[in-house]
């Protein structure tokens, strides 16, 4: 396939195989209803069949809608732009400059893979909350998608000539690949209960439309009344937890199986590429020239087993996206996270540099806050307790959070750390997720030094480095106020020079 370079480039259509998928989806959507009627002899009345009828209707409507979308969508790549026209009643025309393209990602659900299709998402570094969206082509044939990806990511910039360059000199270095043992790190989370609820709800409806009563079956399994509510709740929680954990485990294996993180060198730059998925596949390319750093988060409850989340700090990728495009590794052991981060950073790994401890006053501030917040509820409940609106023991029970809060304060203090390592600013903090972030110093766009009254009494300051990438602000909470300006000046070299008293700033350069 060739993409014409001239501006009268021809308009192209999405792959015709999209239509095949629509036909297949329609047939599949009708099948459960048909099977229920034929094989299980369920009476064809609407009262019993409505869940299956809903499935069939939804399948047909979405398939027809998809076919219309195919018929109305066309796109073309000119030498400067990507254009896409779509819509039946409301015609939309999107134009994206090729030099604004930050990422070209492909993904495929199972049905796309069977038909040899890929969904291509062209991102231009949109900011979330601005209402911008990426340009999605759903779907192209596998070869077209690969060609498009190569064309857009590899495109030489305007002043370079393509003829001089070696054709597609792509070098791939694999940095990490899937380990089935990681499933242990992904089975236990509060989401397990949501997962269990979803699974049980689905199973209940599916079975009830086939004439099997799941609820009645479980009710008869054990004599719930004789157990008492405490044990019954414990059994329900444990059962739900097990079902949910298994569900999350299977979900993880299917979603992250075949995971590979690789660094891809092309002649225009290098990308961190992840590929994952057994049934649905997803590939994300992260332009390393847009990367501003990396972070490792360690969740509190699972710190004993060394669980870690590894993310890149980069512009143009949404940190709120549920598919976690910034995560370059699935949740897994911290040893793997550290090794991978070291490989990505190369020789100088800022995340392994020693961090300065924060003054003891930072612990005192946390203890003060823990105490103050723990006393709010008892204080607010005092009058109702005295007047008898609530029982007299309630304010005292509310005070039970105090020791927990004090422990939390201590853990949060232990997590603190900050430093400057080479080109990077490194900060570590966080109670529920102790996160160590390394941010490139030349990416800092605003510096803020904050001091509350309590912090002033304790001789502390909080220094924040704002940036366009990742979570937008990276903080070093509660560093000594005597060192705060020096640290801020190092975090953003040259920025504070005009406003610093004394000679010291100029000496440092």
């Amino acid at each position: 396939m060739t993409f014409a370079g001239a501006d009268d480039a021809p308009w192209r259509r999405l792959s015709i195989r999209v239509i095949w998928i629509d036909v297949a989806v329609s047939v599949l959507a009708l099948m459960p209803g048909g099977i229920a009627v034929i094989a299980f002899d369920v009476g064809p009345s609407l009262r019993e069949l409505w869940p299956l009828a809903t499935v069939a209707a939804w399948g047909l409507v979405s398939a027809v809608g998809d076919a219309i979308r195919w018929a109305c969508t066309s796109y073309r790549i000119t030498s400067t732009d990507i254009e896409r026209r779509t819509g039946l009643f409301v015609r939309t025309s999107r134009t994206m400059h090729r030099d604004r393209v930050r990422s070209v990602d492909t993904s495929a659900k199972l049905r796309h893979r069977w038909a040899g299709l890929r969904v291509v998402t062209v991102g231009a570094g949109q900011q979330t909350g601005v209402g911008e969206s990426a340009l999605v082509l759903d779907a192209l044939s596998k070869t077209d998608a690969a060609a498009l990806q190569e064309l857009l990511l590899d495109a030489p910039t305007a002043h370079q000539s393509r003829e001089d360059e070696a054709p597609a000199a792509e070098r791939v270095a694999i940095l990490a690949s899937f380990d089935p043992r990681w499933v242990v790190y992904n089975m236990f989370s509060v989401w397990a209960y949501l997962m269990a609820a979803g699974l049980l709800w689905g199973a209940f409806w599916l079975l009830s439309s086939l004439g099997i009563d799941l609820f009645g079956f479980v009710a008869e399994l054990v004599d719930w009344d004789s157990l008492g509510w405490l044990r019954a709740t414990a059994i329900a929680l444990a059962g739900g937890g097990v079902i949910g954990a298994i569900g999350l485990g299977v979900n993880f294996l299917l979603g992250y199986g075949n995971f590979v993180l690789a660094r891809v060198h092309t002649h225009s730059g290098s990308y961190l590429r992840t590929r994952r998925g057994v049934l649905s596949t997803r590939e994300v390319n992260r332009d390393e020239s847009r990367m501003r750093g990396m972070s490792i988060g360690e969740p509190l409850l699972w710190r004993w087993m060394g669980m870690a989340d590894t993310n890149v700090i980069t512009t143009g990728l949404d940190v709120w996206d549920t598919e976690e495009p910034t995560a370059i590794l699935p949740r897994g052991p911290i040893s793997v996270a550290r090794r991978t981060v070291a490989e990505v950073f190369g020789s100088a790994n800022p995340l392994s540099s020693p961090l300065a401890r924060h003054p003891r006053a930072a612990l005192r501030r946390r203890l003060w806050w823990a105490t103050a917040l723990s006393w709010v509820a008892p204080f607010a409940l005092a009058v109702p307790a005295v007047t008898g609106a609530v029982a007299a023991w309630v304010p005292w029970a509310a005070l039970a959070v105090w020791p927990v809060a004090l422990t939390g304060a201590f853990i949060a203090y232990r997590a603190l750390g900050h430093g400057v390592s080479g080109d990077h600013l490194v900060v570590r903090s966080g109670l529920l997720s102790r996160t160590t972030s390394a941010l490139r110093r030349d990416a800092v766009s605003t510096i803020a030094i904050r001091q509350s009254i309590l912090q002033r009494r304790l001789g502390l300051c909080t220094v924040s480095a704002m940036t366009a990438a990742g979570w937008s602000a990276y903080e070093a909470p509660d560093i000594s106020s005597r060192g705060a300006v020096a640290f801020a000046a190092q975090a953003a070299p040259g920025l504070l020079d005009d406003f610093v008293d004394g000679e010291a700033a100029r000496d440092r350069g």
Partner: protein, 171 residues
């Protein structure tokens, strides 16, 4: 460079920004806070008068809110006036704001994306304006409140002219 170097090797201090905000800002802050705290306080008091069962629950919150109102009208505006300062140089925008929590912010001119002079309804009564300077970071905006509207417009125009000289997409 070693991480440990950062610690207190020398004591640097930021000097305060050069310019104060308008004295009229004190009245603006007083009016704003009186409205913001007065409305919920009035709602609480009305609820307590009209509906007997909630009295025990609302007594403490009402007392607390009344104390907050007094602090925000009698103390906060004057305190803020002492803290709020600003300065714009060729290379950076520097502002100090807050009262219980004081924050100093510096943004380099090269990273500025937008400069606006904004006037809310209450600010218009006092002829005041807020100069809002944003960078590519969604947390990085600097808002300089309580400027005379002409000063703010002038500063916005000057800053926009300087910032346009800088190249790149400011991320």
């Amino acid at each position: 460079m070693n991480a440990a170097d950062v610690q207190e090797s020398s004591e640097l201090r930021l000097r305060p920004p050069a310019r104060r905000v308008e004295r009229r800002a004190i009245s603006w802050w007083m009016l704003r806070n009186a409205v913001a705290c007065g409305v919920p306080l009035a709602a609480l008091i009305v609820a307590m008068v009209l509906w007997e069962p909630v009295r025990a629950w609302f007594l403490m919150p009402t007392i607390a809110l009344a104390l907050v109102l007094v602090a925000k009208v009698a103390v906060e505006p004057r305190w803020r006036f002492g803290v709020h300062r600003w300065e714009i140089t060729e290379r950076a925008t520097y502002a100090r704001h807050g009262w219980l929590v004081v924050e100093q912010r510096v943004a380099p001119t090269t990273r500025i994306q937008t400069v606006d002079a904004v006037r809310g309804p209450l600010e218009q009564i006092f002829g005041l304006s807020t100069l809002r300077v944003t960078t590519a970071s969604s947390y990085g905006a600097i808002a300089i409140r309580g400027l005379d509207r002409h000063t703010a417009e002038e500063a916005a125009a000057r800053l926009a002219a300087v910032a346009e000289l800088a190249e790149g997409d400011a991320t």
